[in-house]
Amino acid sequence: MPLLAGPVCLLLHHPRLSWGLATTASWIAFFIALTLLDQVLSNGTITYALGGWAAPWGIEYRIDEINAFVLLIVSGISAITLPFARTSIEYEINPRRIYILYTAWMLCLTGLLGITITGDVFNVFVFLEIASLSSYTLISLSRDPRSLTAAFRYLVMGTIGATFILIGIALLYIMTGTLNMMDLSQRIPAVADTRTVKMAFTFLIVGIGLKAALFPMHFWLPNAYAFAPSAVSALFAGTATKVAVYLLLRFFFTVFGPEFSFDVMQSDRVLLPLALVGVFAASTAAIVQSDVKRMLGYSSVAQIGYMVIGISLVSVLGVTAGILHLFNHALMKAALFVSLGCVVYRIGSTRLTDMAGVGRAMPWTMGAFVVGGLSLVGVPLTVGFISKWYLILAALEQQWWWLAVLVLVSSLLALIYIWRVVEFAYFKAPADPAREITEAPATLLIPTWLLILANVYFGIDTSLTVGVAERAAKLLMGTAS
């Protein structure tokens, strides 16, 4: 468990050693997650009572298809970005702070995994605090002084979100007297018709929406991603918002049940238009950015929009598409941020004008970026295509051809912003021809290409991802009936 590794990292006080420990812990967590997913797939839901107290009195872990899958994503992204982080972080932050960074990294991982694995809503809040506090730290450790403002804005928004979630949980406890998710789902229908429960629902969804950077609550995200150290951006893009989307799924389908969430509260009618507007607004904003990291930040907001579109279709296929995109987007955004990390390592900036001509100087890095970018657009043979395909299928299933068209059109917007980077990197002459730019070192390139290969692999062989996502979706929808 990374929880143990966190404090030990602080004790080690040595950059290389703490890196080694963090990486080992991540890989162990990744293998545990793999085993868990395997067990869940063959034996069904696992529960584990912490402290030996049975569920409603104590706290339990409750692992089913969906959170086993999310655990795998989170620990996997952390395990693969950490080898990259070593070289990149040494270049990007003050050497005295490196061990702090890995401590915070481990704490953040603890928080994210803790949120995902638990079956208790208050426990979710506690681990949410761990994850948020450590992510503010991770962002602010960057050398760029603007990262401080970004971290502070994130802190304010994040705290508001967390407070909303806490109010929601408190209201639920008042009405039901329990904090356990399964227990809640059984007890809520009896009191569902009260204003208190409805307000609890609203508070929870708005709070989680803030954390997930749902449009129009996304203003903290682009800056936070842009000014954080590259490896940290990759970690967040692949994990933090994904966990928030998972929470959204959990509360919609498991705790409140689809009937309450969508028939009584009609949240799909609010979420779908918001998500659509979000996709278009954020993609357009991404096109006009002059910094590539910021551009990717806006693009993340748009991609979360796709996940929410999938969820708000409220069908097995739609939810499958949402969960699939959760996994696929984690892969492609992590790959893109990691390849930008290589660019930063060599030229010290990700401004478009500074990146002019890097395509020829760093063919492997930019090659990775292009493949990742194509995946983001949704070109066949990449993971992006798979998620878009399922999303469109789900839209057509409801006879909403207009939605399918909108998804396709918005993909073109993604093509435009990726193309801008390609244009600068390959077709513009370098700003300063005298400057020698060489290819990034292998320690950075290998993790980058591993991620890219994963993008292509899961774009061709979809049996694992689609299979798990489908089972998870059925399970979520099934808890209703």
């Binding site: 468990m1 929880l3 143990l4 966190g6 404090p7 030990v8 602080l10 004790l11 584990y48 009572a49 912490l50 402290g51 030996g52 107290w53 409603p56 009195w57 104590g58 706290i59 003050n94 005295r96 702070r97 702090i100 960074l101 401590t103 915070a104 704490l107 803790g114 208790d120 208050f122 426990n123 506690v126 681990f127 605090e129 761990i130 506090l133 450590s134 503010y136 730290t137 602010s140 450790l141 909303f164 109010i167 209201l171 406890y173 008042i174 009405m175 039901t176 007297g177 329990t178 227990d183 007890r187 009191v191 009260t194 204003r195 208190t196 409805k198 307000m199 609890a200 609203t202 508070f203």
Partner: protein, 311 residues
């Protein structure tokens, strides 16, 4: 209520911090009225005590007055606050009334805690048994939250050594009265902290409150005798090690119970007799909490006090 509004209206941050302290103390009194002594104790120690000191330390690094904010932004913020406030009030309309014995919150898990905890865990303070055993994993999480906060501040401020800022060496040592009062108070505060730490099983108290009280003794020492003397007693590296060890102690108690064949954090398996095991487990984890809380608070204070802007 009145204090909260005053805080929001004030430009003088120093006065605002002081009012915050009063606000916390008032809420603590409110909690006592509601019979939640443990919560009241925490609020008094954390809200009125240590939080005020830490906020003052932070102020010493920045400025005492607030920069004026354009009117327009006020309106938007007020709008959001009003909508949220109305939402909360709307939500509470259907809520069971205060003290209603038939409220769901009192009927589901609570009776089990109240009636069974004496037999299962064997300590009189139910709050402590819920905190440290039934929901022990949450408490572990909370401890990690505090540790994380300390890590964050150390990461931002405390890495670059150098003692300058407002607590200059020597501190307020030339104030005779302050010095003597502080010397008289220190042993009492430390003793009280230990009492609260180990008496949490029987009365209100426990690791969180004790840690905070313990830390405030150190901070008092640091303020009066200067940061150099304080770091001589407890060097910042030692404090950090203690903070990490506190979390580790808590987590390792859990691992130990795993190895002894129980579930994670199941103290029952620690010794032969399950109730005795619960008792020992709770003492150990509360001690871990106390260590982390105290050490984190002290290192926060160090970080603020010794901060020197980087070039």
């Amino acid at each position: 209520m009145a204090t909260a509004i005053a805080v929001a209206r004030l430009d003088q941050l120093f006065a605002a911090v002081m009012l915050f302290g009063i606000y916390s103390l008032l809420s603590a009194a409110l909690f006592v009225v509601m019979d939640a002594v443990d919560v009241a104790f925490t609020e008094a120690a954390v809200g009125a005590g240590i939080a005020t000191i830490l906020m003052l330390s932070a102020l010493a690094l920045t400025s005492r007055t607030q920069r004026p904010v354009p009117r327009r932004r006020h309106w938007m913020a007020t709008g959001v606050v009003v909508v949220t406030g109305l939402g909360v009030i709307y939500g509470t309309l259907d809520m069971p009334s205060y003290g209603d014995p038939n409220a769901p919150a009192h009927l589901h898990v609570v009776p089990h805690y109240l009636q069974q905890s004496m037999a299962e865990i064997g300590i009189p303070n139910v709050v402590t048994s819920v905190l440290a055993s039934y929901r022990g994993y949450d408490t572990l999480g909370e401890t990690v939250v505090i540790f994380t906060a300390a890590v964050g501040v150390i990461g931002r401020l405390g890495v670059v050594p150098g003692i300058t800022a407002y607590v200059k060496s020597g501190g307020m040592q030339h104030h005779l009265i302050l010095r003597i009062t502080a010397k008289l108070m220190l042993p009492l505060i430390l003793l009280f902290a230990l009492y609260v730490q180990f008496h949490g099983d029987y009365g209100p108290g426990g690791g969180f409150q004790a840690g905070v009280i313990f830390a405030s003794a150190f901070i008092l020492y640091g303020l009066v005798f200067g940061l150099e003397d304080a770091t001589a007693v407890a060097p910042s590296i030692v404090v950090r090690v203690v903070a990490a060890c506190g979390v580790l102690l808590y987590a390792l108690v859990g691992v130990l119970s795993l190895f002894l064949g129980g579930n994670y954090l199941d103290y029952g398996v620690l010794v032969e007799d399950p109730t005795q095991g619960q008792h020992i487990g709770i003492l150990l984890v509360e001690f871990g909490v106390g260590m982390t809380v105290a050490a984190s608070m002290i290192s926060l204070f160090y970080a603020y006090a010794s901060y020197k802007p980087e070039e």
